[in-house]
């Protein structure tokens, strides 16, 4: 197996994998952050440059360093490649610059935005961003747009990652324009509006890394961290039916697809599951979703410390206390 070294860690990879995929195969701190790359979609990545890494040695055959940082989502890993991400101060500085670029036109309306709390750009800015802006010019402004009656487009917040365009590209036939105009006036248009009749169009809300595409049925209902995520499923003839319900009290405020550790949906869900089924009786509840405890979503959600599995089994098998059932041991949060 060919081997690549990322931040001093040797990783075996399959031929044809990118640096980012190789890094994700082991996970942890050495994985570069991404804003536009989406492993579940074809042909994404390369736009935002957030995942740039330093290549100190290209391969066994050509051990010279690459002159510039490369986008790890688009660069193929090669045998004997030596890559630096976290360990390179140069890359950290460059990434701070990238974040500054992404934030040039991004409005500071997180208090209003429904994405706040699960926004990739917020996390990225928190980790790599600077406290102040240096941009002196007027920001670009677009009117808010309703794409269908279920989705809202805030073009002001868009960072042009093209994820929604790629999603629309893959769920519909026939190409229409995805992003109109160029540079400062580039705008998501027509393409996703035409794709809106598709049963899977709601997924563009989930793939959006910022609050540009938001759920109109959830608009201003609650902040994300006041809702409680619960995994559930139902028999759906269109999609897998595996979703995450966001509860506030007894009420389901929002239904989304389940997301993995990189914020990417595990399986696409259909619009019926997403927008129509908002009663608990529609769903088979599986249990509370696993949320990273450092996430703001788990703030103030006090729960009993999860008991280790072998320990709970030991108690169950020992028959010390017959009143302890497995239901008591699992997290009811």
């Amino acid at each position: 197996m060919p081997e690549i070294t990322i931040d001093g860690k040797k990783i075996e990879f399959a031929q044809g994998m990118t640096i980012l995929e190789a890094a994700r195969s082991v996970g942890g701190d050495l994985v570069p952050p991404t804003m536009c790359y989406y492993s579940k979609l074809k042909d994404t990545g390369g736009y935002c440059r957030t995942c740039i890494v330093k290549v100190e040695s290209e391969s066994v055959k050509n051990p010279r360093a690459l002159p510039k940082p490369v986008a790890s989502c688009r660069t193929l890993a090669q045998d004997g490649m030596v890559v630096k991400n976290q360990t390179s101060p140069e890359i950290q500085e460059a990434r701070a610059g990238i974040v500054e670029f992404l934030l040039i036109n991004h409005p500071l309306d997180c208090p209003v935005c429904d994405q706040a709390g699960e926004c990739s750009l917020q996390d990225l800015g928190y980790e790599h961003g600077k406290m102040n802006t240096r941009y002196e010019f007027e920001r670009r402004e677009f009117p808010q747009k309703d794409i269908g009656d279920k989705i809202k487009l805030h073009m002001n917040r868009c960072i042009l990652c093209y994820r929604c365009v790629k999603t629309a590209d893959q769920i519909t036939d026939g190409r229409v324009h995805g992003v109109c105009s160029r540079g400062d006036v580039a705008e998501i248009s027509t393409y996703i509006e035409k794709a809106i009749d598709n049963d899977f169009s709601g997924n563009i809300i989930d793939v959006c890394p910022v609050g540009a595409l938001t759920d109109r049925t959830f608009r201003f209902k609650s902040r994300v961290w006041f809702t409680k995520p619960v995994d559930a499923h139902r028999n759906c003839d269109k999609c897998c039916g595996k979703v995450r319900l966001w509860y506030k009290g007894e009420e389901i405020l929002r239904v989304t697809a389940r997301k993995d550790m990189y914020g990417e949906v595990e399986e696409w869900i259909c619009n019926e599951c997403r927008f129509e089924k908002k009663r608990t009786t529609d769903w088979q509840i599986e249990g509370p979703s696993q949320i990273d405890r450092h996430s703001v979503i788990s703030a103030n959600h006090y729960r009993t410390p999860a008991m280790k599995k072998d320990l709970s089994n030991m108690i169950l098998n020992s028959g010390i206390d017959a009143s302890v059932s497995s239901a008591d041991l699992t997290d009811k949060a």
Binding site: C110, P111, V112, T133, E136, E141, F220, R223
Partner: protein
């Protein structure tokens, strides 16, 4: 014995002077008498009020901006920062024609602070990104029913005829941010062009 602070009791016979009790009574009376000439430790509230610190943390206020629009945008940061979980809110979308009432397109339709839960720590005013919530130097009134301590917007929002000066409570960082022209541009309120 965990603390090593216990003392063993000695039960010895009292002397004649001690049995008289009179010297002990006199010394006690002397202490009492001395206090007549001392400055009293208490004040006659409510006629007389103690001086309050300029940033005393009492009753909250939800500030309005200069034109009278509510600053709060129901972002929920105060509620998530609150260690006592005293704050709850419901957001709503501003309708056309309500621009003079609410500064931004989202506002708090319901905003409640449970003053019995509140510990007046001031973390909400620290968390607020919109300079909307501040603690003031007024005290929370005593009530007879518990329900009356749940303060809604009627008690919290600043009255236009009774503006509250909070300039002393703003940190140096906030003041600097406010006076920076570049940051002001960054933090501006976006107008909704569709509704113009």
């Amino acid at each position: 014995m965990l603390t090593n602070r216990s003392k063993s009791v000695v039960k010895k016979e009292m002397s004649l002077v001690e049995k008289l009790y009179l010297p002990a009574i006199l010394s006690g009376m002397a202490i009492t008498f001395k206090h007549i000439f001392k400055k009293p430790a208490t004040v006659r509230y409510p006629e007389e009020k103690r001086e309050m610190a300029p940033i005393y943390r009492g009753h909250h206020v939800l500030k309005r901006d200069d034109s009278g629009a509510e600053r709060c945008t129901a972002c929920g940061l105060c509620a998530v920062a609150c260690p006592a979980e005293a704050i709850t809110m419901d957001a709503a979308e501003r309708k056309p024609g309500e621009e003079h009432l609410y500064r931004e397109e989202k506002y708090a339709a319901k905003y409640e602070i449970n003053m019995l839960r509140c510990i007046f720590c001031g973390l909400c005013e620290e968390a607020c990104p919109k300079e909307a919530i501040f603690l003031t130097d007024t005290l929370v009134n005593p009530e007879v029913a518990r329900d009356a301590f749940i303060y809604g917007k009627d008690k919290l929002v600043e009255r236009m005829d009774h503006r509250i000066d909070v300039s002393k409570r703003q940190t140096a960082d906030v003041a600097m941010f406010k006076h920076s022209e570049m940051d002001a541009k960054h933090n501006k309120v976006y107008k909704d062009k569709t509704k113009q």
